[in-house]
Amino acid sequence: MEKWDVVVVGAGPGGSYAAKTAAELGLKTVFLERGKYPGEKNSSGAGLGTRWWRDFPEIMGELPKLPSYRRIDMIVIKVVDEENRLRLVQGTTGSDRDGSRWSGSLDKGMAGASIYRADLDPLIADLAVAAGAELREATLATGVIMEGGVVRGVVTEKGERLAAEVVIAADGAMSTMARSAGVRNRWGGGCTLVPQVDFACDEEKLDAVVGNAEWCWFGPFNGAYQVNFRESFHLGAGKWLRPDWDTRPQDMLKRVMEIPAFRKFCKVVEARPREYQAHLLPWLKKPPKTFAGGMMLVGDAGGFPCPLDGEGIWHACMSGRIAAETAAWAISRGDVSERALAEYERRWKASPLGLEHSFGSEFVEIWDHSIFDPELMKRLIQLILEMSEIHPFSVLFDWSDDHVSCLNQHIEHLFDLLPEFSQFGKRYIKPLNAAISPRVVRRALLQAKVRMPALRLLPDEAYLKALSLLNKRLGERLKGTAGR
């Protein structure tokens, strides 16, 4: 039987990054890919955010050379009403507070890059091979080898047995490894299905119409994302796989393709549907158990995708890196038991990955009670449109009546809509208050103090103490910030 330090199952971003890290740490590493090559069985093209430049600069430096690359500077949200009319176009982009922070050219906010997984996956796999890991393509792992309740390796479809000190399962949402080791079975309501269509189009026309942006479509139906590549784009949607599922997956996309503004856009950029794919995407409040004796789960297999936006590639690479580092640590100590590998969970929870999931429940609840409820979406869109009217240009330039009447009508309508959403805000948005760091709360309170002449002479700590006495909960939040 072959003997390895680490066997990684799956050569998607998480598996390849784990293999790269393990090899760099001097571990004898093999990674297995069921496709003919990494990227063949990929799941969905990707928008990569600016944190990629901070965490994986060796990947980002190579991206612009790849055929599908498009630089992304903003996201444009397009909102349509019940009659399919385009009513609002809103760009979301970050403040240019510290443009040099990570990449030298990209701001904070929703900026980054679009890249096909067919391009990205081979790139990361190549880095792993260059680091000394061995890649085996067209190799399907069918189960784990268990001894005394501990995973000791994997078995392939051809009956080969690969012994390993540690197995890193990066085999996607359906993770055969996790099931075979008895870590989990189905997600049971915590997994979405994502149908997606690739459209080929004209590069220059896409440059002119879309530029360096991703698009999103929202309306009284499930929202859809439009990831724009060099000379193509993806239209995708998603919904939790639960007993109330009521549509053919492709019809979620066909609904968006009925929007006249979308069709016109397609016509102008000469778009034609070129490929259809459907994938599972775990979208959980928090990852369930991510380790067993002798095994760690990374990426989708571990349930790591972002609880707010479903992005999973950064999460896969981060968890892959942490799993490989934990493997090296455990192997060097000669203990890969379940108890020892609990270290993996401690480490990812202490990383940015854990911070993102620490409010997973709140993030998921927001989606669960808004976008996936078409009736609520109808009213939410009214609210969004009305709120966007309370904007210097819109209110002043409403031509439906004299401008004083218009202003009053808008305010009145807004107050009609608000109570309906106050409950939503209270239940699903307000809990996120707890995510605001005490340091930020403290700073905001002190800035407010400066604007109040009567309080200006009061010492900072006395002022905060007084506020804490007036509001007990605020006091709790500010605990331990004194003197910072």
Partner: protein
């Protein structure tokens, strides 16, 4: 404006090679709820005499998404994967 539509089966590419069997149904467990048929983009599941039925040609039509496996609360559907190096090839994803 001209029609813009697509047929799933015309937009899926496949390599050569025998996938082997990779989906199976345990009729004892199936309660005929029909959710597998609703979530399948390729329309591979139907209901016959109160039980789910998998299209015999599923090996050449399946998209390998495993939605049928995930949605089945009775765990009547077993899903593995096509043999290594066979099945769907995603070119533009």
């Amino acid at each position: 404006m001209e029609e813009m539509d697509f047929e799933v089966k015309e937009l899926v590419y496949r390599g050569e090679g025998d996938t082997g069997d990779f989906i199976s149904l345990d009729p004892e467990r199936c309660d005929g709820c029909g959710l597998c048929a609703k979530v399948c983009s390729a329309g591979l599941w139907s209901l016959k005499e109160g039980k789910a039925r998998l299209a015999p040609r599923y090996r050449e039509l399946c998209l390998e998404c495993a939605a049928c496996w995930e949605i089945c609360a009775r765990e009547a559907i077993d899903f593995s994967y096509p043999a290594g190096g066979t099945g769907v090839t995603i070119r533009y994803g």
